[in-house]
């Protein structure tokens, strides 16, 4: 058996989820306070509430380390809650402690899922927080009339009174108060823990809430609740919602409103008496529960995959219907179905979407850590926090992002005195930007630091023997790309670009595996920018379908400007240094897809003018076969990033005819063309 007893095991997931939610609140408060460089009263209260709740729920799970840490943190914030001005001038230290605390609690929270989980020591966290508490008591103990704060002498809070272990019967409801009697399902076990969770869950709807028994942590409270039920005495303007929430709990058999008297005087029937009535109400509760439901990520992913398949099948079906004799009813019906599929897709996609802001705190924390350690002044600005992205994707990106941000802070941003000497703002700026480009996500990490030293990069690559041609023949882009090669950094500790290699290598392999690309820009003295772009999976895109010899290709319609018949515009095609250019509004280079894919050019060739962030070009292709909704699927990992970049193919999609088509990426094609043109010049 693991750390948790069988009783508690079923609660672990609930505890983890709740703690994760609480820590999100904790982190958000910290980010806000960091930004304003002060703690508002609301921040202090919120942090206090969070740590208080974690303290209790951890204690019930037997996680005494977490509970102790939270208790200590609670003591610290109690000092601030009593007198917010105490926090003035101590913010940085408190931020650090919050980092330390969050780090510990979150790591434990993750580790808990493992079967052989054993709590890790929290000594370091405890000592650090205690030191800060001592700072205040040392400073203030001399002052008369002020109570030295400690865990035992705090104001009365809901949920826990200090009146000993026996459940206490309190008088009837006061003005505006409602008293509910909650009966838990028979044999649900750990009644006090369930009760505690319920109070947690409806807390947000209540201005005030107390329980009876008042001390849910008391050892005999479980038995008491199972015998007598749980009394909730609350003042709330959102009673209806609180009630809904209670009824949605799988452990609640029923909730009764109790008149003006304390419910303990009402004798409650013993087990079994609530038989029939209970079941009916359980059904009712189950119905209400539908309003909110927790679903595992695995199921969401499966649901998304099936939806993708459905849309693909529907596209194929649509093509077949077009070939049938006209039937208006069938067509109308099909159109309705198609619309519904769109809706379904949107809905299903939204299930796994989460705003970037949910992952932002760890990045702020990382930069703050490094700044403190390296004695630098760094401001991290995250742009696009409200953008929603697939949760799995955001998790996958965390690894490269941590590397890249660390690089930017460690090696990009200079020490304050160097920045001052260079006439720069002493506070370095790192920007982390998320952009949603419909079927792509672009993530940019930019710093205004020293930039990469190209001659050093060349020198190093040369020393490692990884140059493939003479150093003088390397273009600026090619030199910067050397930084992506593994091991371009492992030796020296501190110079402007050491460490870069690791991060970029990781970024490239992670983003490459996602079917995306990474590029870098850097200017000496002005900083570096790393741009990662990856397809957002499973969204469908309207595509033009065309042939290149035997190959079927698809390109998103949003990238297509115009389609010309090659023969009709022949007169506007010029050959410069052996390369064809189309003279349209501007001179457009032509990428010959026949040549790129090793096919013979066919009659009825087309020029498809495409555009994307990196420019425009014309693709020389075979005939256009149609337009269709395509659900992009990534290539198998065997088809590596070099192949993808070389061919401009980002993945596949099932075509209307049931075969596979190659999804082309306009940006990559334009880049591949740029490379060809650069080689033409040589």
């Amino acid at each position: 058996m693991g750390f948790f007893s069988a009783d508690l095991e079923s609660m672990v997931e609930l505890y983890q989820r709740e703690t994760a939610e609480l820590m999100e609140e904790f982190n958000t408060r910290q980010v806000k306070a960091t930004r304003e460089n002060r703690f508002s009263e609301q921040d202090i209260n919120a942090v206090f509430r969070v740590v208080h709740t974690i303290k209790s729920s951890a204690a019930m799970m037997g996680l005494s380390n977490i509970s102790d840490c939270s208790h200590r943190m609670e003591d610290l914030f109690l000092l601030f809650r009593d007198r917010p001005e105490r926090s003035l001038g101590r913010e940085d230290r408190v931020f650090e402690l919050m980092d330390l605390f969050a780090d510990y609690v979150e790591k434990e929270n993750e580790r808990m899922s493992s079967r052989d989980f054993q709590p890790q020591s929290a000594e370091a966290v405890l000592t650090a927080i205690q030191k800060e508490i001592d700072f205040f008591s040392g400073k203030e103990s001399a002052a008369p009339g002020r109570e030295a704060p400690s865990g035992r002498e705090r104001p009365e809070r809901p949920l826990k009174t200090e009146s000993g272990e026996a459940p206490v019967t309190e008088p009837g409801p006061g003005p505006d108060e409602t008293v509910w009697k909650v009966t838990l399902r028979a044999n649900c076990q750990m009644e006090n823990v369930r009760a505690f969770m319920l109070v947690r869950q409806i807390g947000e709807f209540c201005d005030k809430i107390t329980t009876e028994p008042s001390n849910l942590e008391a050892p005999n409270s479980a038995e008491y609740i199972s015998r007598n039920g749980l009394l909730l005495r609350l003042r709330s303007r959102r009673e209806e919602e609180a009630l809904q929430k209670l009824l949605s709990s799988p452990y609640v058999a029923r909730v009764e409103e109790i008149g003006s008297k304390s419910g303990t005087e009402k004798p409650e029937s013993e087990t079994g008496a609530d038989g029939l009535r209970g079941t009916e109400e359980e059904d009712d509760a189950a119905e209400r529960q539908n309003k909110f439901s927790m679903v595992s990520w695995d199921r969401v992913t499966r649901l998304q995959n099936i939806t993708g398949e459905l849309i693909t099948s529907n596209t194929i079906l649509g093509a077949s219907i077009k070939n049938l004799a006209r039937d208006e009813r069938l067509e109308n019906e099909f159109q309705t179905m198609e619309r519904q599929f769109r809706e379904l897709e949107k809905l299903v996609m939204s299930l796994s979407m989460t705003p970037v802001s949910s992952v932002a705190p760890r990045y702020y924390r990382l930069i703050r850590d490094i700044a403190a350690r390296e004695n630098k002044k760094i401001r991290l600005e995250i742009i696009g926090e409200d953008i929603e992205a697939d949760r799995n994707l955001l998790d996958t990106l965390a690894k490269p992002l941590i590397h890249l941000l660390r690089n930017a802070a460690d090696h990009g941003i200079e020490a304050p005195e160097i920045r001052a000497a260079a006439g720069k703002d002493v506070v370095g700026l790192i920007t982390l930007k998320f952009e949603n480009l419909t079927d792509h996500l672009r993530v940019t990490v930019a710093d205004d630091g020293a930039g990469m030293d190209k001659s050093l990069l060349l020198q190093k690559a040369s020393a490692r023997g990884i140059l493939t041609k003479d150093a003088s023949q390397y273009t600026e882009d090619e030199i910067l790309n050397l930084a992506f090669l593994p091991g371009m950094s492992t030796n020296e500790k501190v110079n402007q670009y050491s460490g870069r290699g690791v991060g970029m290598d990781v970024a490239r392999s992670v983003v490459g595996a996602l079917g995306g690309s990474v590029s870098v820009r850097s200017a000496p003295g002005r900083g570096s920018t790393i741009i990662m772009e990856m397809p957002v999976s499973m969204t469908s895109a309207e595509c033009i379908r065309f042939m290149v010899g035997a190959y079927t290709c698809l390109i998103p319609i949003r990238c297509v400007t115009r389609i010309y018949s090659f023969d009709e515009v022949k007169g506007y095609i010029q050959s410069i240094d052996g390369r064809m250019w189309l003279q349209a509004d501007a001179m457009l280079p032509i990428l010959d897809l026949f040549r790129l894919y090793g096919e013979k050019r066919t009659a009825q060739s087309r020029l498809i003018v495409i555009h994307d962030v990196k420019g425009s070009a014309a693709l020389l292709s075979g005939p256009v076969a149609g337009q269709q909704t395509a659900v992009g699927k990534p290539f198998p990992s065997l088809i590596g990033r070099d192949y993808r970049a070389r061919t401009g193919m980002i993945g596949c999609a099932v075509t209307e005819t049931g075969g596979l088509g190659m999804m082309l990426n306009a940006d990559w094609l334009i880049q591949a063309l740029g490379k060809e043109i650069a080689e033409d010049g040589k």
Binding site: Y551, L596, Y597, K633, P636, L638, I639, Y643, C652
Partner: protein, 148 residues
């Protein structure tokens, strides 16, 4: 070569001209015939293209071509193989039988096989001898070749 590792494992034996190749049946998801394979531009001989299989895009390798033999011959049988998260299709001439690994071994020199991608787990005596492929190693060899 690993000997007598797991005597009770099941092997899928395929016939390939004069030779017999086998691999652990545990990895075999399904055997399908004549799937619609979409070729890729510039693909090497051993890669016959991609197929869409249960919503995933899966690469199709030719056992013939992996052995360095004429790749144009039709191999109608397609064995779907799963290794951890990886899905892979392997085309063969015919699937012969399922047999229990009897634990008997015979020394076999890999280099006799004319193909740099054929990696063996072991060889089981028989007529002809049954060559048990190490699919993981085969895939690794293919992957590093394709991406170099």
């Amino acid at each position: 070569m690993e000997n007598n590792r797991d005597k009770s494992r099941l092997l899928l034996v395929t016939r390939q001209g004069q030779s017999r190749y086998a691999f652990s049946a545990e990895n075999v998801v399904e055997v399908i015939t004549s799937p619609a394979i979409t070729p890729l531009p510039g693909q090497p001989d051993y890669l016959r293209g991609l197929i869409s299989y249960k919503g995933r895009v899966v690469p199709v390798l030719s056992l013939r071509a992996l052995r360095g033999l004429d790749a144009d011959a039709d191999e109608p049988i397609c064995v779907m193989i799963r290794m951890d998260d990886l899905l892979l299709a392997l085309t063969v001439d015919s699937a012969e039988s399922l047999m229990e690994d009897n634990g008997r071994r015979v020394e076999y020199d890999e280099s006799l096989l004319n193909g740099k991608f054929i990696k063996l787990d072991c060889a089981i005596p028989g007529d002809p001898v049954i060559l048990v492929l190490n699919l993981k190693k085969v895939y690794q060899a293919v992957e590093s070749h394709f991406n170099s």
